[in-house]
């Protein structure tokens, strides 16, 4: 545990200060993942109680600390949305239909790395990666196969794609149109958050400035023509997975959000026109109470920022909507069944924190891709919380807990400090280029590893309570034949399509990329001509240049 100096105590909690007696030598010292000291017990804070209404308020009312809807899950449960995808579009289509039949009410598409980085499956860099961490989708044809039999008017689909986000969005729109479903009937979310790719997730393709342009082009296009689609999911999750603590997760995600909002506003979009469609994506990590407080603090911080900083008038602009995923980095390869308990605790914090949708990890994710059985158990965790635990019956049930309110205040205060620092550096784009967030995250990750190695951070089954033969083999394997099958499929497509039309569409895409205009219509036209993702990204790489991660000497 961290050693906490007296003057690091939460300043907003005078009563807790009074309650804190000198700590006996033998007792453990406690702090959250962000280093917020945890008192032996909490008392009401006199200053807080006076401002309760303003700070905590009611569910569904500004500043939304207690949730964005007055009746929360009584009215509508969170969306159970399991991220899924592997292999060919046919294979993933079968998994999606299976999950749909098991009671999952939102889809979430995981793409393989070649798709995420804009290479066709027959590209030399793609060969070893096709179908491994997600489904391989390189053309409209693949997207049509992937979505076969799925009612696109009824389902909301989350599309995890960043650098080539406008291309995958265009494929989704075009696949729907071919089935007679128009763009304004589609609902879902596209991740489209490039800054965290530079900071933590590692799939940036283009340099920062053109990358930001693609983000805002997509946001602008959705705002005008695909109004039910959330054009961005600003993600703290991947930064947390890379090592950030809870405060950094919120602060860095919001700093990135500020950059996106500024960029959209500079295009002449009024903040209230697009802000109601902004969504966020957070992690549910291990420190149960800190996580609940983090979600509450994030909601209040966002509401205040939208109203005070961006002058939003529409209440929906101030409501923080977010997806949550349990923390993959907390899962262990040893005694993998233990992960079910970890995921259940993390998922419970997300529900107590008022999430709008949730992915629960499968127990075998530290070993490989989840099997059908482990994916089902992961979904069942959410269903047990929803239907058996009673947690969904009353909004923000932990409101008024001295501990939770104190942590909520402290996370908000510390996150605001970070946001101020990043503002002073010139904002998130500049700070990310300078490597500021990267450094902060690395330092936290390394400190966590050292604490684990010293035995101060206990991981059950790994540095305590080990037993023999506790690793299980991975069951689901993606064979090398996958790359061959997908490479052959794209080769056939190139022969079958009208190549004159494709060449012309790619030339128009090149022109649009060079001009100061929204690029999405040119991408939709290229997608409809069955241009591949590799061909389209090559055009964009030609115009924008390529982002390269560089070698460093430590």
């Amino acid at each position: 545990m961290l050693i906490i100096a007296q003057n690091d105590r939460p300043k907003s909690n005078d009563a807790a200060e009074r309650a804190a007696v000198p700590q006996p030598e033998h007792e453990r010292r406690c702090a959250t993942s962000s280093g917020i000291p945890v008192e032996p017990f909490y008392l009401p804070d006199e200053r807080t109680t006076k401002h309760d209404a303003e700070k905590i308020g009611l569910p569904g009312e500004y500043p939304y600390t207690r949730g964005i809807y007055p009746r929360m899950y009584r009215e509508k449960l969170w969306t159970m949305r399991q991220y899924a995808g592997f292999g060919t579009p046919e294979q993933t289509n079968r998994r999606l239909r299976y999950l749909w039949k098991q009671g999952q009410n939102g889809l979430s598409l995981a793409f393989d790395l070649p798709t995420q980085i804009g290479y066709d499956p027959d590209h030399p860099l793609a060969r070893a990666e096709v179908g491994k961490v997600g489904v391989s989708v390189c053309s409209l044809l693949d997207m049509e196969t992937l979505l076969r039999g799925i009612p696109l008017q009824k389902v909301s689909t989350s599309i995890t794609i960043n650098a080539p986000a406008p291309i995958l969005l265009a494929m989704y729109i075009a696949a729907a149109e071919k089935r007679g479903i128009s763009a304004d009937e589609l609902s879902g979310t596209i991740q489209n958050d490039i800054l965290k790719e530079f900071i933590a997730r590692g799939t940036a393709v283009f340099p920062p400035e053109p990358s930001m342009r693609l983000v805002t082009d997509t946001l602008e296009y959705c705002t005008r023509f695909v109004p039910r689609f959330k054009p961005i999911s600003i993600s703290g999750y991947h930064m947390r997975e890379a090592g950030a603590n809870a405060v950094q997760e919120v602060a860095f995600a919001f700093s990135n959000a500020i950059a996106y909002v500024n960029d959209a506003v500079s295009r002449g979009l009024a903040v209230d026109r697009f802000a109601p469609n902004l969504t966020f994506f957070f992690s549910a990590h291990s420190h149960f109470f800190e996580e609940i407080a983090k979600f509450r603090a994030a909601r209040r911080l966002w509401a205040r920022m939208m109203r005070e900083r961006f002058r939003a008038q529409d209440p929906r602009s101030c409501q923080l909507r977010f997806h949550t995923q349990t923390a993959g980095s907390t899962l262990t390869a040893e005694q993998a069944d233990n992960n079910i308990a970890r995921v259940a605790i993390q998922a419970l914090s997300a529900v107590l924190g008022g999430t709008q949708s949730l992915h629960t990890n499968a127990k075998d994710e530290a070993i490989g891709l989840p099997t059908e059985a482990s994916a089902r158990t992961a979904l069942r965790i959410q269903q047990i919380i929803a239907f058996e635990s009673g947690t969904a019956d009353s909004a923000d049930p932990l409101a008024g807990s001295y501990y939770i309110e104190s942590l909520t205040d402290e996370i908000e205060r510390r996150a605001m400090e970070y946001i101020g620092k990043i503002d002073a550096m010139g904002g998130a784009v500049q700070a990310a280029k300078d490597g500021y967030m990267q450094q902060e995250i690395r330092r936290e990750a390394y400190a966590a590893q050292l604490a684990f190695e010293r035995g101060e951070r206990i991981i059950v089954g790994v540095n305590r309570y080990r037993c023999a033969d506790d690793r299980k083999p991975a069951k689901l394997r993606i064979g090398a034949d996958m790359a061959k099958a997908q490479a052959e499929s794209v080769a056939r497509l190139r022969l079958r399509r009208d190549s004159n039309e494709t060449v012309a569409a790619l030339a128009k895409l090149d022109e649009a990329a060079r001009r100061n205009e929204n690029i999405v219509p040119a991408i939709i036209a290229a997608v409809k001509s069955y241009a591949t993702i590799g061909e389209m990204c090559d055009v964009l790489r030609g115009v924008f240049g390529e982002y390269a991660s560089t070698e460093v000497r430590l």
Partner: protein, 140 residues
């Protein structure tokens, strides 16, 4: 016996963007007294071999969490052999199913470290393997 520090290249082959583990190991080995170079993301086996030879490292540590290790790790070993870098040891880590390890060992990967490994385990493995080699090479 020379006091020259052990030189290590930590590299990310393929398209995988997860670098938390690679960066922790890189920092940890540096703190354990080694000279460490980190390749950055998205390197081909050929590029990794090139850096390794240019930097005259004693050990190459590969990290992959995308499931492409069975193809990419052996390709790095082959690329090093083509460059006649026979005495560099190659180790790997990431999300790697246990039943893949024998195959990787056969392909020339000296050790595979799974999640939960301590930095000290990796550091002492490298020291044990590299010291005799390095001593022989540098005196000869």
């Amino acid at each position: 016996m020379t006091a020259e520090p052990i030189r290590v290249l930590i590299a990310k082959p393929g398209l995988d963007g997860h670098d938390r583990g690679a960066l922790i190991v890189a920092q940890g080995l540096k703190d354990a007294g080694m000279e460490v170079i980190y390749s950055g993301l998205r390197k081909t086996p050929g590029q990794i071999a090139e850096i390794a030879v240019r930097e005259k490292v004693d050990c190459v540590g590969l990290s992959c969490l995308s499931g492409a290790h069975m193809e990419l790790f052996p390709e790095v070993v082959q690329a090093l052999r083509q460059k006649k870098a026979h005495d560099m040891i190659v180790i790997g880590g990431g999300i790697i199913p246990e039943d893949d390890i024998p195959h990787l060992r056969e392909a020339g990967i000296a050790a595979v470290f799974l999640p939960g490994t301590t930095i000290e385990t990796v550091a002492s493995f490298i020291r044990d393997k590299v010291r005799p080699l390095a001593a022989g090479r540098r005196s000869g």
